[in-house]
Symmetry: C2
Subunit: 330 residues, 2 copies
Amino acid sequence: MLEHGGRLRAAAQRYGIAEADWLDLSTGIAPYGWELPAIPASAWARLPELEDGLEAAAREYYGCASLLPVAGSQAAIQALPRLREGCRVGVISPCYAEHAHAWRREGHELEELDAATAERELERFDVVLVVNPSNPTGQRLAPETLLAWRERLAQRGGWLLVDEAFMDCTPEQSLAGHCPLPGLVVLRSFGKFFGLAGIRLGFVLAEPKLLESLHEWLGPWAVSGPARALAKTLLQDEDGQQRQRQSLLRDGQHLENLLRDCGLAPTGGTALFQWLACDDAAALHEFLAARGILTRLFARPSSLRFGLPPDEAGWARLRQALLDYFKECP
Amino acid sequence: MLEHGGRLRAAAQRYGIAEADWLDLSTGIAPYGWELPAIPASAWARLPELEDGLEAAAREYYGCASLLPVAGSQAAIQALPRLREGCRVGVISPCYAEHAHAWRREGHELEELDAATAERELERFDVVLVVNPSNPTGQRLAPETLLAWRERLAQRGGWLLVDEAFMDCTPEQSLAGHCPLPGLVVLRSFGKFFGLAGIRLGFVLAEPKLLESLHEWLGPWAVSGPARALAKTLLQDEDGQQRQRQSLLRDGQHLENLLRDCGLAPTGGTALFQWLACDDAAALHEFLAARGILTRLFARPSSLRFGLPPDEAGWARLRQALLDYFKECP
């Protein structure tokens, strides 16, 4: 099992700080969101059924007629490598590690690619995998670039797999509206933007035939009834989405400014996180953790990812800790 | 995708009867259960973490120290065949079709076995699969019998896989308390007994090493946060479980009597369903469906499964429809 953010229980034990006392910035999940609507009792009691309105709401939200709800984009990340015979996979790196892990585990041949040079090497691969915007670097690839790659891959029966887990604040940069297209597979996460990581819901946007295979592989009732009911309501709430988008964009900017003000100018980021590549990432991680602030440390490249604080107290606490770090380790 | 009960939407379309007007007896899920406890907001908002109290509550409830929560026993049914190299699998038949489907799909060699003669043929198989009590026949195998099979299989590195989806009303017949033992894998469904089929939760009871492989295969965050929170509370509610057990056993008996009174003596059953093997199963299924009563039809052997009605009105409606059938098709 790979390392991930959000492991507050482990952090509490390691640093001897009670779970409730942490400021958890270790994930890229919105720290606020919706007043949760009531969930009908039948959503808990009955087996979930398809086309209960969730798919329709999602088609509208993503602007794509062909999609499949899955139990978190993680479910799709694990299943997609099982739908292809052993092939050559290029991963634009660095990126979210579960992708490479999943393809390697299924025996595919994996190679890391640099976004800047990938274009020249496309013909060597059957599948090219991009997290866009990238997690943790925040790097973005333009839709036109990706669409051109998609075309070249599709000509040889290849796939362009685009994980848009952090795309909801910038829908104009999404490929969702271009789906379905041959060879194009777009993954969307529901929990990150909507602030509901516990719900386990994501969507795969692709051609119907590929979705059929994926559905067959994942089996019946993959997504829980309550998740379906709740997501249907939130995907229809355009005003709420607009408010959430504005809040996250504002706070993402705020986080970038705060880090910069503290002498830690981010290397990249999105509305939901900022990424800081620096040699002393491990030391900064420890310094913050000792003060009950959990960030996500990456070893390669040496870097830290900061999620958004949930409230004023959280912002103040982060600012103070960073100023202290600057004072003690200038 | 295999056929299943609970597909009310499809039935509503096929028979032109609004979803709300159906009496759905097509599943073996408890039609009543708990007043749902409040779910903490953090269960929705945060990534689920292991050992949040759910595993501890489940260990207590099942009487087994080594278990893994999964997103419905269906998740385990699909994953287990992927943890073994191609092997010979014997399935005590007839039984819930997803098992055979999952093993076949992974290229294993499958053979149907009769419970009465399986004992003599055990040495021919690497994995023997039993749904106990069986769905839909209600047939039970004694714990001593299964433990003896387990020992013979384990000696050759084989598995005895026991799906105890319908065991909660008769815990004294469960193998849960015997787990972990080499080669023994027990599946438990949470939603059926607790009346929460939408929750997508089940447990696998087995040796830690096998559970590690399964966990690695299923990946992180397989079970949703709300499911974990809710199940933890219900698994700790021994009084509620006692009440639920009594109600289901009483209603199961009631259903058996009702069918018998109407000249349709069940062939077998459990507290949660009764099973009726008869040549006119398809005709009876249609007759009831035309009256908005959905049962589960099996073609081989020709048979019907009846779940429990949820309330007095449901019982009266079923009785009347069966009496009418008897009158019209004596």
